[in-house]
């Protein structure tokens, strides 16, 4: 189930906005497509991120993939648990954020849960 408390990108990332902070992660669909995730290269607190640009690399046994930001802003928190336990993204991608960003701008190209589910079906 795709939770409807947040928005989604076409690159299979989720973004959850609380005030001026956006929590970002990858979707369960993305985690499943990647296969067993073995390493997450996290950004650092204080890093500047930009819409559509990579802020994190997720490495699986198949490949390493960039994770793109939905916002412009500064990283204020990272999910350090992922450093030692990357499998958490496979276990529950929606419960485990990658980074929280204090943002100045957010992309308009976002989908809600229903739209995202449809998008995944169409892509398959």
């Amino acid at each position: 189930m795709v939770p409807n408390d947040r928005k989604y990108t076409r690159d299979h990332e989720w973004v959850m906005v609380e005030g001026n902070v956006a929590k970002m992660g990858i979707t369960a669909h993305a985690a499943e497509a990647l296969g067993d995730i073995v390493y997450v290269e996290l950004p650092a607190v204080g890093d500047e991120v930009a819409m559509g640009e990579s802020y994190c690399v997720v490495e699986s046994v198949k490949a390493s993939s960039s994770v793109f930001s939905a916002v412009n802003g500064t990283v204020v928190e990272i999910n350090e648990e992922l450093d030692g336990a990357p499998e958490k993204l496979n276990e529950d991608a929606f419960e485990n954020f990658i980074a929280a960003v204090e943002f100045t701008e957010i992309t308009e190209d976002l989908m809600d849960a229903d739209e995202y589910e449809k998008f995944c079906e169409e892509e398959a």
Binding site: A33, D36, V38, E53, V61, K62, A63, S66, P86, E87
Partner: protein, 482 residues
């Protein structure tokens, strides 16, 4: 066939020796070494008798798989057969030392100069350097030219290197290493560069675009002229990743397509050994406007027709490799080019393309072909939906191929194709070999229907079946602990 295979350390037995050193005839030598530099414990080397040592490594070598053992269709790697005569010819240069004065190295320098000229002709570039150690080093060197070019014009704003999402992973890595910011653009549905995405991506911050043509999907980039125009009009330069040059020799040249700078993998296209750690060789070719920035030394000819090494190039990016590159590899590639000649190289490319199309067409209907059009030197196929319903994926098919005596194709690359298998037969292979491979692929497809469990158990003919790749990646043990 499966048996417990011990590490050399596990075979160690105190006091055994394969070789006895003579008595030390310089007993004071140890006194000359400062105390703090002396090892204070014995080296942890295995102790083993000669016969056991020979058996250990001989048996290991028999478990290796190379192009001399069998068909090796590893896409994007061009595992063509390397004629053995080239190895023999390279031995002729064995006694040359790179510190010999240029006056005593005229033969070597002549060969290198000739090689540069031949590569210029094959690629349509104006000058080549043979220094880079391998492909990615060539990319870095080429991108340093682009950076030097912009900075020399006083334009310090061009910091963005555009890389399509189909690119080899080394492209964005090399761009980052050269100090650029990487902007990825998506591919069009036909697998080529999305022209609108490219138009939207270029601007006053564009340093250049890195492109592989044929692309990593094994498809020729039909819009290359338009792509070159878009990048050049935006003030950027065009970088050619020569990984797939094997498809186009003698047919079309990167220089004529509009590329400003490129690298070649001599160890792929020009038949020198690779895989297993090198050495490779990644010559970089440039158009006229980039010549001043080429690495030193350049090989030049003086008025007496003697070659010398010219270090006096004030705008050069500097030296990028010790001595002059991996000379032995250059000699082998030189011999390969000379023995084939222009017509032979063209024929090699034609046969490489023919072989890939032959395999692709024979597999149609058995496997899916996501971009079904005439391919170049490699083709991309995927398991059918039916196979995936049986939980059989690309990695399973690759493992099953091992039991049938083949090196698997490249899998899960390019990243933009789900479950990709990239097959590059190369020109070296006979039709019978291709037919046998196709039969093996069909046999696997058949077994997926009748006995998917057997596919999931593969390989069963190797010393190790399915290593736990996930644990190996998450919790690697990188040193022997006895």
């Amino acid at each position: 066939m499966r048996s417990e295979y011990k590490l050399i350390f596990e075979r160690s037995h105190e006091g055994r020796r394969a070789y006895d050193l003579p008595e030390c005839d310089a007993p004071d030598a140890m006194d000359q070494i400062p105390e703090e530099l002396k090892a204070n414990s014995e080296l942890a080397l295995p102790e083993i008798a000669e016969v056991d040592l020979v058996r250990h490594y001989t048996n290991l070598s028999r478990r290796n798989f190379g192009v001399d053992n069998g068909f090796y269709p590893l896409g994007s790697c061009t595992m063509k057969y390397n004629p053995k005569i080239n190895e023999e010819l390279a031995v002729a240069f064995d006694d040359m030392h790179p510190l010999l004065d240029a006056s005593m190295s005229q033969g070597c320098l002549a060969l290198m100069k000739d090689m540069e000229d031949m590569l210029c002709e094959i690629c349509g570039m104006d000058a080549f350097t043979l220094q880079p150690a391998a492909g990615a080093h060539g990319e870095l060197t080429g991108l340093m030219h682009i950076r030097a070019y912009h900075e020399h014009r006083g334009d310090f704003e061009r910091k963005v290197m555009i890389v399509p999402d189909a690119a080899h992973g080394t492209n964005p890595a090399s761009a980052a290493m050269a100090g650029f910011k990487v902007k990825e653009i998506k591919s069009a549905p036909d697998g080529g560069v999305d022209l609108d995405a490219l138009r939207a991506a270029v601007g006053p911050d564009t340093a250049g675009l890195m492109l592989t043509n044929p692309s990593t999907l094994g498809l020729f980039e039909r819009n290359i002229k338009e792509i070159a125009k878009i990048v050049h009009e935006a003030g950027g330069l065009l970088y050619y990743d020569g990984a797939n040059l094997n498809a186009i020799m003698g047919i079309v040249r990167p220089g004529d397509m509009g590329f400003d700078v490129m690298h070649i993998n001599l160890h792929k296209t020009f038949s020198t050994p690779h895989g297993g750690g090198g050495p490779g060789s990644g010559p970089v070719g440039v158009k006229k406007h980039l010549i001043p920035f080429m690495p030193v030394p350049r090989i030049e000819e003086d008025e007496n027709e003697m070659y010398y090494l010219d270090y006096n190039k004030p705008e050069s990016i500097g030296k990028i490799k010790s001595f002059y590159g991996n000379f032995g590899v250059i000699v082998k590639a030189f011999c390969y080019i000379r023995s084939l000649g222009g017509e032979g190289l063209k024929e090699a490319s034609e046969n490489a393309v023919l072989n890939a199309n032959y395999v692709m067409n024979k597999l149609r209907g058995v496997y899916d072909i996501p971009h079904d059009r005439i391919c170049m030197h490699e083709c991309v196929v995927t398991p059918t939906e039916e196979m995936m319903k049986n939980e059989v994926h690309t990695s399973d098919i690759a493992k099953a191929l091992i039991d049938r005596g083949y090196h698997p194709p490249t899998i899960y690359f390019p990243l933009i194709v789900h479950e990709a298998m990239m097959i590059e037969p190369t020109e070296s292979e006979a039709r019978e070999t291709l037919d046998e491979f196709v039969e093996a692929m069909k046999g696997i497809a058949e077994q997926v229907k009748t006995d998917p469990a057997a596919i999931h158990a593969a390989p069963v003919t190797t010393p190790v079946g399915r290593p736990d790749e996930v644990t190996a990646a998450r919790k690697p043990i990188v040193k022997y602990e006895g």
